[in-house]
């Protein structure tokens, strides 16, 4: 699905990325910090962006690709406007995080790791956001929702769906 999405980077984004590369070029081990910032700029790391990073740092594309695919925080596909992240850390798991994830998937009709066709929501699972006291938790963008039940999940998502002109 994601392969069909054309790269829509702007001149401005490219300029930002070139500045990041110039700033970090001499730093030992520059690749990770540059990829972090590149993902901030573009929202994900499509092959076009990886090529720019490779050219800028004077390393091969395969090296960049190898690193970008190794770490779970880097994404090669675009994420939704609202990023939903369900914690599957141990504390959340023993308190029913799997049921929370299942409810989110059911509600949005996509699986973990996917993005809805309208580009509004994407779901990921993560390992521990460190809010174990509130288990089970999920994050929608930067907001953390704790002590969840499948029921509550529905209500929280409804709020976002409504904000977006809701037709789910």
């Amino acid at each position: 699905m994601a392969d069909n999405i054309p790269f829509k980077g702007t001149q401005e984004q490219e300029q930002q990325l070139l500045e990041v590369i110039a700033k970090n070029k001499e730093l030992p081990g520059a690749l990770l910090p540059v990829l972090h910032e590149a993902q901030e700029i573009y929202g994900y790391l499509p092959i076009e962006v990886q090529q720019m990073v490779a050219d800028g740092l004077g390393i091969s594309l395969s090296e960049v690709y190898g690193v970008a695919t190794f770490y779970s925080r880097f994404s090669l596909t675009p994420k939704g406007k609202h990023k939903i992240s369900v914690c599957l850390g141990t504390a959340c798991y023993v308190k029913g995080a799997d049921k929370v994830l299942a409810e989110v998937e059911k509600k949005l009709g996509i699986k973990s790791g996917e993005c809805t066709a309208d580009g509004l929501f994407s779901i990921d699972s993560c390992r521990c956001v460190g809010a174990c006291g509130l288990a089970p938790v999920m994050m929608v963008d930067e907001e953390v929702y704790g002590k969840l039940t499948p029921d509550l999940v529905g209500k929280i998502l409804d709020k976002y769906i409504k904000e977006e002109g809701g037709n789910k």
């Binding site: 030992p28 081990g29 520059a30 690749l31 990770l32 910090p33 990829l35 972090h36 190898g66 690193v67 190794f70 770490y71 779970s72 925080r73 880097f74 599957l88 850390g89 141990t90 504390a91 798991y93 023993v94 308190k95 993560c126 390992r127 521990c128 956001v129 460190g130 809010a131 174990c132 006291g133 509130l134 288990a135 938790v137 953390v144 704790g146």
Partner: protein, 631 residues
Amino acid sequence: MTLEELNRIKNEYKDIVKVRKVVAEESAKIAANTQYRKQVLVCGGTGCTSSGSKKVLKALEDALEENGIKDVLVVRTGCFGLCSLGPIMIVYPEGVFYSQATPEGVKRIVKEHLKEGGSVVKELLYKETVKPDGTITPLLETNFYKKQRRIALRNCGGIDPENINEYIATSGYQALAKVLLTPMSPDEVIKEVLDSGLRGRGGGGFPTGRKWMFAKASPGDIKYVCCNADEGDPGAFMDRSILEGDPQCIIEAMTIAGYAIGACRGFVYVRAEYPIAVERLKIALEQAREYGFLGENILGSGFSFDIEIRLGAGAFVCGEETALMTSIAGNRGEPRPRPPFPAVKGLFDKPTVLNNVETYANIAQIIRKGSQWYASMGTETSKGTKVFALGGKITNVGLVDIPMGTALREIIEEIGGGIPNGKKFKAAQTGGPSGGCIPAEYIDTPIDYESLTAIGSMMGSGGMIVLDEDTCMVDIAKFYLEFTVDESCGKCTPCRVGTRKLLKYLEKITLGKGEDGDIERIEALAEHMQKSSLCALGQTAPNPILSTLKFFRQEYIDHIYNGKCEAGVCKSLIRYEVIEDKCRGCTLCARNCPVKAIKGAVKQPHVIDQSKCIKCGVCQANCKFGAIRTI
């Protein structure tokens, strides 16, 4: 910065911070020396921020202004440890504890308690701290705090982590001054750490002083000091809390380590998933540079040192030391064989010392108070205290710092407040995906490195997940294997293939398709992985299975041979049934069943059609009469 200036700042802020170390009259007496009549501490750690402490803080500041109250100091601290009760707010000198604070509640507290002559709003206090006769127990005197000995966490929840002066007020940077200005020789510093008996708190338990000694002895002009803040064990969050609550103590310790081994640069490798910790660390680094605790010629001693932050990107294996250094160097975070050890050939191929956050959090205190002080706590071979992240089925979910050797029972029943909902304690899981479980019959086991290893678990980084009777041990083992399958870096075959094969067996067993001989095959494969994997991730990946097999073998046998999941977790092995005598025929279950599998007339016992039932459990969760059982 000179020693005189350091001491001047310490004296200026000393009393403000001391007010929070004691309670009632004693605290009030100290408060009288400061310009603040009262102090309100609001937790700004990740847990409390998630439950809305920012709004509470804003409401508090607004309400104080509206009421014209100017002699109350508001401090945003790091984690107090009682995460499940957040947002947390503590008021001194009384030392009383408001839990689950809301903006509305805060307005009331300002009007009724914080204003001149006000008194505590009892209804909003954490209810466990109010006795039936109305007397109030200050937070520091509750079981949760009284039984702890907060060393690594000493400042967490007690100071403003974004204000270096408050750290200095708690004797911060006195250890660095002692090292650089006495001066102590690097060997003396290392001897002090060695004599304290401090061992690595990240999981391995290797003596910290010996690591330093090896790194110092390695030839070379360029050496590095690294801090592992890539806390990967899901369910452990002490490193995050220390960075959020007391970041300066890590900077001070790394600088001391730099002096001891002869390094002038340090790196903190921290999870990008911890934005608050990263932000506070950045602020702390700037302040430390501004005050001259980092940079050229620190305290006029001629020693120079500085620290950089590097962000991890979500790879559990990067908690392994060689993988972490490979990652800082900008590569895929894959481990490599040891030797050579990092003390000889580490970051950028130079001699390197790597310790985790909690280990560093002990260093300044060891230097300041002496190795004997530290060694007086704990057991023969495990000195000092250890921080645990209590999670799962336990009342007081949160962070605790306890002397090594404390019995598990004390942690669960007294500090942790027991198991909620009247359920029975089944086991505690320590060491995360590399560890194992401690079953109920071993609840009196003292918690130290050797005792845990002896029963097939491990200290690990300090995650302690409490499991009750509703937990299926096969399912928990499967959970950890899913984790290691995801996180295996793929470099070596025993781990890459072995973890997947183990997971396949567990999936089969939990689906009710286990076969005779599976247990034996799992055990054989596990042994190969332990012996032949490249790094600790693969070597320890079978532990969650081996440990549950050791203590809960019957559950595996039940799953495989008897088609039964006692805890009622594995859906393929259970069915729901209505207990006729208890069913009142209220029809609630039938109405809620998503597949209309429940039939029955009003006021007549209902029946579940097993051919339609999808085992979602909605009927059981909704039944008010406990009339639905799992078989």
